[in-house]
């Protein structure tokens, strides 16, 4: 009987110790896991946006393949090897610049989204501490809308193509005048395409992207105005 008594005592003590450890662990990780969840959801949105961009680019490549090839055929009629290389580079660079800028904008939106989740997390904690976070919540919602709108505009920009219209350029032979005309026609188209690309990208930068950046700044400003905002909640 004394053995049973000892076993009961040891078992009870062990259970209490384990239960206490679990209780302490659950309390201490609760706050961290909320932020982790928010950040995981932001990462999921970033991954989805990246997949969407990639899908759009694959579709675009398929769509412009013929036009690109026809333009390259015109470029190959340039006898001056240096000019021919430059023309090829410009044609490739037009698409490349669009890809670099839209990738950059997408990356910026991912970063802003992650920052916004931290603002949300801190606002939730301030609310738990009894602070009024109405202005922060409104600003966060606005920022979420602006980021989502900017993602749509970035995706639309990724669909834009900047290809030479080879059908409007006459074939050239080796005569100097013919070569000069070919280069001149290509130069005019390249310039026009570059101006359009620049206009589209700066429009996006100074429009939807600027709005998204500003909205997150505004949300952070609203958060900073909450008294004692950096205090951790009691539980």
């Amino acid at each position: 009987m004394q053995k049973i008594q000892k076993y009961t005592l040891v078992a009870t003590t062990s259970f209490i110790l384990l239960a206490s450890a679990g209780f302490i662990s659950a309390q201490s990780t609760n706050a961290t896991s909320k932020l982790d969840n928010l950040l995981q959801m932001a990462q999921q949105r970033a991954d989805n946006a990246q997949q969407r961009l990639q899908q759009i680019r694959d579709d675009v490549q398929t769509r412009i393949k013929d036009a690109h090839q026809k333009a390259q055929e015109k470029i190959s009629q340039i006898k001056d090897k240096s000019k021919q290389d430059t023309a090829t580079r410009i044609q490739n660079q037009l698409d490349h610049v669009n890809q670099v800028w839209t990738d950059h904008f997408s990356n910026v939106l991912d970063r802003l989204d992650a920052v916004l989740q931290k603002i949300q997390s801190r606002a939730d904690k301030a609310s738990q501490n009894g602070q009024d976070v109405t202005a922060v919540t409104t600003a966060i919602q606005n920022a979420n809308d602006k980021i989502a709108a900017a993602r749509t505009v970035v995706a639309n920009q990724a669909q834009n193509t900047y290809e030479v219209d080879a059908t409007s350029i006459s074939d050239a032979d080796s005569a100097a005048s013919s070569q000069s005309s070919l280069v001149s026609q290509l130069r005019d188209q390249f310039k026009s395409l570059k101006d359009q690309l620049f206009s589209d990208l700066t429009g996006l930068r100074d429009g939807a992207m600027k709005d998204a950046r500003q909205s997150v700044q505004d949300a952070f400003q609203a958060l900073s105005n909450v008294p004692n905002v950096d205090e951790e909640p009691a539980n």
């Binding site: 009987m1 004394q2 008594q5 005592l9 009870t12 003590t13 209490i16 110790l17 206490s20 209780f23 302490i24 309390q27 201490s28 706050a31 932020l35 000019k83 430059t86 023309a87 580079r89 410009i90 660079q93 037009l94 490349h96 610049v97 670099v100 800028w101 950059h104 990356n107 910026v108 970063r111 802003l112 992650a114 920052v115 931290k118 603002i119 997390s121 801190r122 904690k125 280069v183 290509l186 130069r187 390249f190 310039k191 570059k194 620049f198 990208l201 930068r205 992207m209 950046r213 997150v216 700044q217 952070f220 958060l223 900073s224 905002v229 950096d230 205090e231 951790e232 009691a234 539980n235």
Partner: protein, 77 residues
């Protein structure tokens, strides 16, 4: 059968252990929470860290180089 004295001792010992464990856990938790308040500046969602994150969002000037290269090629064509 267990004697009544043994039962009382067992109950008292268990109660003492329970009280001790819960007391220590609350003391431990209290210290953790105080520590969190003192270390707020290190929390990922502290305003200081959020401000730092905002400053690290890439500037648009980082992609201007490609456009400049395109401009140069156009001038040389």
């Amino acid at each position: 059968m267990m004697s009544s004295k043994a039962v009382i001792i067992t109950v008292v010992v268990v109660l003492v252990i329970v009280l001790a464990v819960w007391y220590l856990s609350y003391v431990f938790l209290g210290q953790m929470q105080q520590g969190q308040q003192m270390q707020t500046s290190n929390a990922p969602d502290s305003t200081q860290n959020i401000s730092s994150d905002l400053n690290q969002v890439p500037s648009d000037s980082t992609v201007n180089g490609d456009m400049n290269t395109l401009d140069q090629d156009l001038q040389n064509f």
